[in-house]
């Protein structure tokens, strides 16, 4: 069986949904952050797969930019988590609901 673009797109859809499920069903801030990383990675795989099957290198350049943004997001996100840990002493997401209502 030849592996086609459809298979890659289905795989990325599954990975993205797993990331969404992680964000919606977990209460640990750091695991939610990791689920967001999972979704970003699924999108990266879509870019690379489409780049390969359309023979256009632009997708790989865009992945480079996505990775830069993801690295910046992780650095600032973890700094916020450490700040929350210092102030609240917990990683539970219910401890940060000041802006919720």
């Amino acid at each position: 069986m030849q592996i086609e673009l459809t298979h890659y797109l289905l795989l990325t859809a599954v990975l993205f949904s797993i990331g969404v499920m992680g964000v919606l069903t977990r209460k640990n801030l750091i695991i939610i952050l990791m689920s967001v990383e999972l979704m970003l990675n699924a999108v990266n795989l879509t870019f690379v797969a489409v780049a390969r099957f359309t023979a256009d290198i632009t997708g790989q350049v865009l992945v480079f930019f996505t990775m830069c943004v993801a690295a910046a997001e992780v650095a600032v996100g973890l700094a916020i988590l450490i700040s929350i840990w210092r102030h609240r002493g917990t990683m539970h997401i219910d401890s940060v609901k000041l802006l919720k209502w």
């Binding site: 949904s17 099957f53 290198i57 830069c68 992780v74």
Partner: protein, 171 residues
């Protein structure tokens, strides 16, 4: 051969991703996330993107995960009690399943129109081709991203400063 490798990497990444979001301890979660990242790097090699695979291993499996593990170990994070009402949990799973179903159906409905595998030029995915595009057509975006990374560094440092340092930068 390619089919077998794709199936192995795909199954491994889905399994590791599921374990990432179900493991109770954050540290186990982070280690499963490394497995997912490495499987994706393998898929990038299959997709004729060796440079992207290399930066996937260096940036994600290297820097990002090490940063997350460092924070987990520094703060000595234990599994927290996640008491979630069953209705919320089911709602989360249903929403994720709906997203999966919608994307699945839309992919299947256009699957006959998608481009099929073609033979690629020899230079496809090599570093000099990517860098040529990066430093000509996308030069502006490249510079903006460098400013973004600088902002992230400054933001992270200012966020984790001790709150009682006052205006004198005591530490």
């Amino acid at each position: 051969m390619e089919t077998i490798l794709f199936a192995a990497f795909a199954l491994c990444s889905i399994l590791a991703a599921l374990l990432t979001i179900t493991a109770p301890a954050p540290i186990a979660s982070a280690l499963y996330l490394v497995v997912t990242m490495l499987c994706l790097a393998g898929l990038y090699v299959l997709l004729a993107a060796p440079f992207v695979a290399a930066i996937q291993v260096i940036v994600y499996a290297g820097a990002v995960i090490v940063l997350i593990l460092f924070v987990i170990m520094l703060l000595n994070l234990k599994p927290i009690e996640e008491r979630i009402p069953a209705a919320w949990r089911i709602a989360g799973i249903v929403i994720a399943a709906l997203i999966l179903m919608i994307t699945f159906l839309s992919i299947m409905s256009v699957s006959s129109l998608l481009p099929t595998a073609t033979t690629l030029p020899e230079t496809f995915g090599k570093v000099n081709e990517i860098s040529g595009l990066l430093f000509s057509k996308y030069l502006y975006a490249f510079e903006v991203v460098s400013v973004l990374l600088l902002l992230a560094v400054v933001g992270a440092v200012s966020l984790i400063r001790k709150p009682d340092a006052g205006g004198t930068d005591a530490n």
